[in-house]
Symmetry: C2
Amino acid sequence: MKRTIYFKNKPIIVGAGSIAGPKESEGSIAKFIETKMQDDTFGEDSFEKAESKMLFNAIKTAIQHAKKQENEIDAIIAGDLLNQIISSTFAARNFRTGYLGVYNACATFSEALTVGATMIDGGYLKNVICATSSHFASAERQYRYPLELGCTRPPQAQWTVTGAGACVISSEGYGPKITASTIGKVVDFGVIDANNMGAAMAPAAMDTLFTHFNETGLTPSDYDLIITGDLGTLGSRIFKDLMWEKGFDIEKQHVDCGELIYNICESEYQGGSGAGCSALVFSSYIYKRLKEKKFKKIIMMATGALLSTVSTQQGESIPAIAHAVVVES
Amino acid sequence: MKRTIYFKNKPIIVGAGSIAGPKESEGSIAKFIETKMQDDTFGEDSFEKAESKMLFNAIKTAIQHAKKQENEIDAIIAGDLLNQIISSTFAARNFRTGYLGVYNACATFSEALTVGATMIDGGYLKNVICATSSHFASAERQYRYPLELGCTRPPQAQWTVTGAGACVISSEGYGPKITASTIGKVVDFGVIDANNMGAAMAPAAMDTLFTHFNETGLTPSDYDLIITGDLGTLGSRIFKDLMWEKGFDIEKQHVDCGELIYNICESEYQGGSGAGCSALVFSSYIYKRLKEKKFKKIIMMATGALLSTVSTQQGESIPAIAHAVVVES
């Protein structure tokens, strides 16, 4: 059994698109975001439709940015948090390309990049889109409570990011290259608090990074950044502790998209989360810094809590997963 | 843009596992099914847990049948109909392998085979599992009404199959080979009746098969069987009519897993449906007949209706998709 795969032909991320809600557009990565929404509905009559339109927008921006025509795209590989990943499906409906729906909760973005890079590296397709989204209001009413109820949130909670990110991966062109992936496995340390995603996901991030170091022989210092998706402040601390116990000090390299995205974490408690969190941060800030060669080599691990409202109600603990993607400038 | 990919190294399906509910175990493919459930709960205290256990059972059977050890499996690629594909996640939690969650509704099985074959063909992994499931009772209460309500069903409705199928795809070994895939695109002809999945999915099946013939230069007579996933009786008729309009007569080769699975369609109306439908029929009847070389070359198109209860309630029509996989004995 091995979980790390290498891409010999180094698929290229030739373009990226990003879109964010009003709150995220005021955060620390604001200046890197392509489209900033004026309000959460994005001109639609439901939050679900707004989310799908956001994903569509991010894909369109990525295609433009890659200087491609729509008919050059072979497939869209996308997923999101809504039941039956309808944001992705309804966004893909507007394109005439192939569509592969993927779902690993908030780890979906790096899963999509892994599948997409495989398709390109093996010469099966020429250009693919990898994209994910999330929306605070559609996630709240599906997973927790409708906003209108005004429920209070516990201190360990995170704030689902309203945002989407999309990347065009190609066999030819100029841009940062995907050189390897480590596929995550399902890890469950028995956390049952559905408001404490960070604690549930941290062991999965540790498992993937530890496996990555073991299988590749690399160490933290080989990376400029070790990026997690949405562990938040508490989850990040647990993650770093777990890595320390395994013999790796990642304090210098580690950054969490959820911790990073908002200026202050006061009203967002532990920071951002959601399938759009890592996609947005990667497709804006990280991607642009890689293109400028300010980062030379990074590893991005989107992290996902694989629960549903039904599994929680039936007393199940929260399984989690993290997929790692190595990107070099 | 192209949607058909070819697998030069011809990944091998070295083993398959199948499990079915009591009703499906009395159907036309009964003698090919490995595990027959005595009752729908499979010894669990919820239908959701039963479905996950079914998928676990199918994966276990496939691994045994492939004469592999669990630690030889690199990844499980799986999906199902439940929100956040919890059947797959909780089944994958029992294995120490990588996990990639996929979702294209009832088209998930051929999507998983496509992603899996790519991973094997390109030499990225050595052994992967592709698996999907569905369960009548868990699907009814999530998508429609709890069984306890005893709601009547309209005549165009289908019956979600209680069943699961799993295949082990390997780079080495003996068995039927996957030689090509045609990735589906999202097709929406504006059907809004969530009870009439066959009509919603037929145009997607047509689009994929027509694209497949166009891109490969093949014709219906090149195949022993042209298999659709779960169009049902009405959907199959529409599909054949649409193909006829495009200039292809597939009457002789076409068979639909949903039409095939039950002995009589009286109480199941248009026949079977669900992500487990094509997985179960393929992993039992089709796989065994391919192994015996009674079928030489088949094309399998699982078909999916990409709606959710929310998209239906918000007045959206039903987008659909079909992915095709070519398997040769």
